[in-house]
């Protein structure tokens, strides 16, 4: 998966995130955590479990339901020399605090000509698939990646989750850390088993802005992030049964975007499918396709395809949500439509 030490100890993404934060808190007194229900409860999604017991209420601070205040306070504390890790419980709640995020956290470095640093991590839960409807199930990858001044990472497995968290805390810039609820490993929330992988005990970083090839192939490149990676890996198995060799790329970071990695893969395979659980229009899928096309359209042997979320609010009812979400079958169908077009000489 990545270039760390192989480890027999498997962790969930939630455990891996908490471990990374704890290790940084042990070595760096500037690191502290705040958010709603992150102390005694250990985070609604488990990613701060154990921190309150080890570090106490000063450094692991439950906040009032007051996202504007505590996220803008994090920006102020970061500018004053601290390294806050703050949690926005669901990414969908960004509506009540976006000014703190994109007008302060993301712009103060630029507006100060680089003399003010804002080293903070804003971690927030994304993703649907469990009938929580459209105010608790969004991904919003494109929303955050679109706005300049903040790095954006989103792990698909526990190894990357720990390494990206460590890298995010150590980064001198603000980092949005998106974790998908369906990969988190919470007992009460269905979990993708492939997200639970070996995680070294010692601290390590996964570089921000570097994609990973998680499966090598020669016929088509499937690019995804978080849940999209797992759909892509399953689709690659289905395609392999049909004699098609798919390469799967996990972007891991949306900002900076590892465009070179995608281009190199498409140069090899000549075909591109982009998978994203975020709304399709004006988002990651279009950005990846534009990256390839702008670079060298002649690399492509077939029209690129995307499997995104339709431009609709996320519905509650199970059959409606399942209809809208990306899945492996949709990726296989995208490949088949690509092949059909090529067969027609289009």
């Amino acid at each position: 998966m990545s270039n760390g030490t192989p480890s027999a100890r498997k962790l969930t993404i939630a455990r891996a995130m908490a471990e990374a934060i704890a290790q940084e808190m042990r070595t760096d007194p500037r690191v502290f955590v705040m958010g709603e229900d992150i102390a005694k409860l250990g985070g609604v999604f488990g990613n701060t479990r154990g921190l309150y017991e080890e570090f106490g209420a000063e450094r692991v601070r439950d906040t009032p339901i007051s996202e504007t205040a505590f996220i803008s306070a994090a920006a102020g504390a970061a500018a004053d020399g601290m390294r806050p890790v703050v949690e926005l419980m669901f990414v969908d709640f960004f509506g009540v605090c976006m000014d703190a995020i994109y007008n302060f956290m993301a712009k103060n470095t630029y507006f100060s000509g680089g003399s003010v640093r804002v080293p903070m991590v804003l971690m927030t839960a994304t993703g649907g698939g469990y009938s929580d409807a459209g105010q608790h199930s969004q991904c919003l990858h494109g929303t955050f990646a679109h706005l300049p001044g903040m790095k954006v990472v989103a792990p698909s497995n526990a190894y990357d989750a720990k390494g990206l968290m460590t890298a995010a805390i150590r980064d001198d810039n603000p980092v949005i850390y998106l974790f998908h609820k369906g990969l988190q490993g919470m007992g009460w929330l269905g979990t993708e088993p492939a997200s639970i992988v070996g995680v070294p005990e010692e601290a390590y970083t996964v570089p921000i802005g570097k994609a990973a090839t998680v499966r090598e192939g020669t016929d088509v490149t499937i690019v995804g992030i978080t849940s999209g990676v797992h759909h892509a890996l399953k689709a690659a198995d289905l395609l392999a049964d049909r004699g098609v060799s798919a390469e799967v790329i996990d972007l891991r970071s949306l900002v900076p975007l590892d465009r070179k990695h995608v281009i190199a893969s498409v140069r090899k395979t000549g075909r591109l499918i982009v998978v994203d659980e975020d709304y399709q229009s004006y988002g990651m899928t279009g950005e990846i396709m534009a990256t390839v096309v702008e670079h060298d359209v002649s690399m492509l042997k077939a029209t690129p395809k995307r499997v995104g979320y339709p431009d609709i609010p996320i519905p509650y009812s199970r059959p409606m949500e399942e209809f809208a979400l990306p899945n492996p079958a949709k990726i296989v169908a995208a490949y088949e439509s690509m092949a059909a077009l090529a067969g027609r000489g289009a």
């Binding site: 996220i71 306070a73 102020g76 004053d80 007008n103 507006f111």
Partner: protein, 328 residues
């Protein structure tokens, strides 16, 4: 708590410097904007929010602050920046959009950052109070000396961010002081039409913290009240809220014809100007002599003139430098 004569003159000099700075900026802002007023033209483009009339709010608070203390301010921040000791050369150059500006021209007059004196301001109403609360939290967590002061206008006291910030500062007992500059006007909307209480100091009650009200733009009263609040914060006793009745001598921004403002109020502005009133007080009570006054005024003006000359001399930034400093 009464200021010494020396402190009184310190405040006077900052007020005079600030006023002269704004007068100068006002004149330069109009260069290249006649006969047709176009905000994008001239050596100082963009919106310009002058702080004339609000000088007591800056001088009376910042006299109690050290460079290590944190101040966040608003879109109308020149007076506070000057009282806090922001590098005036770099500040003027920033306002001119020049390469030697505080941010090399990326921020402009609404986004001034001087980490050397822990000053910043923002163009988003009410939102700069949260970062001050965070700076105060940072000082508490690091057991580091220092308080934070968040400036806002009376219009911003109806923003959710203000109330959330007060609440957070109060429950965590943070060393932060919220200073509301009540100039009665949120662009064209009078306070009476936006605010259900006569004075915002009473809103402190809802958060269990002290609230103070200063009437008549009185710098000596600001000095007294701010001194108490800042001392309280330094002693670890938590936040305070201060509302100061002040005065917007100019329009909301330059080019604002202010037709919404009653004629009688506009006619009374000069009589309510805090600087001549304070000069009169100093002359009467503290025996400020004409010679001493002239020295102060000359010194203040020279400092401003030097800064403006520096700004004019400074080259424009390389256009492509716009791509830098997004990340460090």
């Amino acid at each position: 708590m009464l200021p010494t004569r020396e402190q009184k003159l310190w405040m006077y000099e900052r007020m005079v410097a600030s006023r002269y700075f704004e007068d100068t900026i006002e004149a330069i802002y109009l260069e290249g904007k006649t006969p047709v007023f176009n905000m994008a033209s001239g050596p100082i483009p963009g919106e310009m929010h002058l702080s004339k009339g609000q000088e007591p709010c800056a001088a009376g608070v910042c006299i109690h602050l050290k460079p290590t203390d944190v101040v966040t301010s608003t879109h109308r921040a020149h007076h506070v920046a000057i009282a806090k000791g922001v590098d005036l050369d770099k500040m003027a150059a920033e306002i001119f959009g020049k390469g030697d500006g505080l941010s090399g021209g990326r921020g402009g007059h609404m986004h001034l950052f001087d980490p050397a004196v822990n000053f910043s301001c923002s163009g988003i109403i009410g939102q700069s109070v949260g970062p001050a609360v965070g700076a105060a939290l940072s000082r508490k967590l690091q057991s580091k000396d220092g308080v934070a002061v968040a400036y806002l206008g009376e219009g911003a006291a109806n923003q959710g961010a203000f109330h959330e910030a007060l609440n957070l500062a109060a429950i965590w007992k943070l060393p932060v002081i919220f200073v509301i500059e009540d100039n009665s006007w949120a662009i064209s909307v009078p306070k009476s039409a936006s605010t259900p209480v006569e004075h915002n100091d009473v809103r402190a009650i809802g958060y269990g913290i002290p609230g103070h009200y200063v009437a008549n733009n009185d710098v000596l009263q600001v000095f007294k009240v701010a001194g108490q609040a800042i001392e309280r914060a330094r002693n670890g006793e938590g936040p305070s809220l201060i509302e100061i009745e002040t005065l917007r001598l100019s329009g909301h921004f330059m080019g604002d014809a202010q037709q919404y403002r009653p004629k009688e109020e506009l006619e009374m502005l000069a009589a309510r100007d805090p600087i001549p009133a304070y000069r009169g007080y100093l002359t009467t009570v503290d025996a400020l002599t004409p010679q001493e006054d002239a020295e102060i005024v000359t010194r203040a003006r020279k400092r401003v003139d030097d800064a403006i000359a520096f700004a004019r001399r400074s080259p424009y930034p390389e256009p492509a430098a716009a791509l830098d400093k997004v990340f460090v």
